[in-house]
């Protein structure tokens, strides 16, 4: 395996792994939507009148 091969492999595998870890971290950091309490002004009643 050449140096360029190592670079491409580490960049590709490292990029997708880092992206996944970062996304999972952000997802886990936030509480489940069902557990969140919404303020009055966050509630969309879909009432346009």
């Amino acid at each position: 395996m050449t140096l360029s091969g190592w670079v491409v492999m580490i960049l590709s595998v490292g990029f997708v792994t880092s992206m996944l870890v970062w996304c999972i971290y952000l997802v886990m950091k936030e509480p489940e939507a069902t557990e969140r309490l919404h303020a009055q002004d966050e509630i969309d009643t879909r009432d346009t009148e």
């Binding site: 395996m1 050449t2 360029s4 091969g5 190592w6 491409v8 492999m9 590709s12 595998v13 990029f15 997708v16 792994t17 992206m19 996944l20 996304c23 999972i24 952000l26 997802v27 936030e30 489940e32 939507a33 069902t34 919404h38 966050e42 969309d44 879909r46 346009t48």
Partner: protein, 531 residues
């Protein structure tokens, strides 16, 4: 809708369900094969460009369209299109969101059954066919009935119990049990254990492959390091990276790989996202699901398949094996597993992982049609599952019966599994980018978002993605459609397969017509529902 609306129980559940839908055989067989064919490392450049210009924007589009429709009470693509674009024709454009997953399911479950059958045979030791590849080719031909029509059913001298049918029946029943249990108790619960199990299986196989060293001391060049090099090195045969990148076919294949791998254009993501709550995040969830798929493809698939094949077959053997996904997966790899130490165990784990990948995908293909039967005709879960079970059983029976040279499977895969997917993805992107528009579209993606999606992504969705998609589609069609079109005239089974797909299309169009009548009565479009 009259029935109580189903919702995902947890956020991680929907992410795993979408990831499971995307992760399939292509991640572990097609991607490494394509990368090996197109100078390994160089392939990754157009691959990642396609991910950012095509894959991620279309995925966000599908998630946003789905949640948009779901907030207005619709879970099927015809219903979602109806509220996204106020036009009498719009629900009918969504017919491909039913035809594509259902028709793909009809042959995909057949392939799923091969994976389960191979896993079982490895686990029970009945897959030890030696080191001669022709034995595996002969077994595969007999097992899936490639030698004659009807042979998978035992009609042409084959034995029923020796064939793929027991696995197929098992897969069919498991799929419909999961679907019958519903969204959160069925699909979500299953994906929550299946996806971690799949990744655990992949790690077991990965560790075995990376510790193979140099299995044959007489061939010192055939080692893991060179196997990885074969997959990832830049510049083969004295070619520079620029020479490799000048190959337009590589760009086409890379875009196609991203497109099919992320399962965009199936209508499944929109259906799944429609069960979200109106202010649930989609920006981060979509990115997480895409990242999960990419991790399975690049970090797991990219390190397993080609290096394993290389250490036993060498460069020439890998090039020959990667010309066909079925050849690589069901003839070459089984022989390789039987050659390596602990191969029986690793083979069972590898095919079980393929089975899980296929199962998490196939269950997702049933949900869009179930959604239409429920919300369009007002059927209950049991009746919807029964109707869809009958339709898909007929289709799968057709594909399995006409198994000689996998002609029916190949025809379904080309016309629905490729052509219709491109068309549906283009429709979705154009609807989102042009009918919903940049401002509303961006607002829709950003609603409840936990990461900020830059506005220029909307311009990519509006201008770049459709052009990129159409360019890839036209080029690909130009290269492949001629031979498939000619086969319709020359081969009655191909003509019959196309006719069968046409019948399903008509059936779904009639179903949509009936649904639209019902929706117009129960849920007439107002400015609000379509806003």
């Amino acid at each position: 809708m009259n029935q109580k609306k189903e919702v995902w129980a947890t956020r991680i559940g929907v992410i795993l369900a979408v990831t499971g839908s995307a992760v399939g055989l292509g991640n572990f067989l097609r991607f490494p094969g394509k990368a090996a064919q197109y100078e390994g490392g160089a392939f990754m450049i157009p691959y990642f460009i396609a991910l950012f210009l095509l894959g991620l924007p279309i995925a966000w589009t599908e998630w946003a369209m789905g949640r948009y429709g779901g907030a207005r009470g619709f879970n099927s693509l015809p219903g979602i299109f109806r509220v996204a674009w106020h036009n009498k024709l719009s629900p009918y454009l969504g017919v491909l969101g039913l035809l594509v997953p259902v028709a793909i399911y009809m042959y995909y479950i057949y392939i799923e059954a091969w994976c389960l059958g191979y896993a079982w045979k490895f686990a029970t030791g009945s897959m030890s066919l030696g080191t001669d590849k022709s034995q595996y080719a002969e077994f595969f031909t007999r097992y899936v009935g490639l030698n004659a029509h009807g042979s998978a059913f035992g009609f042409s001298g084959g034995s029923w119990s020796d064939s793929v049918l027991p696995s197929l029946l098992f897969c069919f029943v498991v799929n419909f049990i999961i679907i019958y249990r519903g969204l959160s108790r069925g699909i979500e619960m299953f994906c929550k254990w299946a996806m971690p199990a799949l990744i655990a299986c992949a790690f077991i196989v990965l560790v075995r492959v990376l510790t193979l060293g140099t299995p044959d001391p007489a061939k010192p060049d055939q080692n893991v390091s060179n196997g990885l090099g074969f997959m990832w090195n830049l510049g083969w045969g004295g070619k520079s990276v620029w020479q490799s990148l000048a190959n337009s076919q590589m760009w086409l294949e890379a875009a196609g790989q991203i497109f099919f791998s992320l399962s965009v254009g199936f209508g499944i993501i929109s259906c799944y996202a429609s069960y979200l709550k109106p202010k649930d995040d989609i920006a981060l969830s979509s990115l997480t699901a895409c990242s999960g798929n990419e991790f399975c493809e690049v970090a797991l698939g990219g390190l397993i398949t080609v290096p394993a094949a290389f250490v036993f077959l060498g460069a020439v053997g890998v090039i020959e094996a990667t010309r066909s996904t079925f050849n690589l997966g069901f003839m070459t790899l089984p022989m390789i597993f039987n050659t390596m130490p602990l191969g029986q165990f690793v083979g069972a784990v590898f095919f079980f992982l393929l089975f899980l990948a296929a199962l998490t995908s196939s269950i997702s293909m049933l949900q869009p049609a179930i959604a239409l039967l429920e919300e369009g005709l007002g059927l209950g879960r049991r009746a919807s599952v029964a109707v869809l079970g009958f339709i898909t059983a007929c289709g799968t029976g057709f594909v399995v019966y006409f198994s000689k040279d996998a002609v029916a499977l190949d025809t379904f895969d080309f016309w629905v599994g490729s052509v219709c997917i491109y068309i549906l993805a283009t429709i979705q992107v154009i609807l989102f980018g042009w009918a919903i528009g940049v401002e509303r579209g961006h607002k829709e993606i950003q609603r409840g978002a936990e990461i900020r999606i830059p506005k220029f992504i909307m311009y990519i969705i509006k201008y770049v993605s459709p052009v990129y998609l159409l360019a890839v589609f036209v080029l690909w069609l130009f290269q492949t459609a001629g031979s498939y079109a000619r086969k319709i005239a020359s081969d009655p089974v191909v003509a019959g397969s196309v006719g069968f797909m046409f019948l399903i299309l008509i059936f779904f169009l009639l179903l949509i017509a009936q649904s639209v009548r019902r929706w117009n009565k129960l849920h007439p479009l107002t400015k609000e529902t379509g806003q």
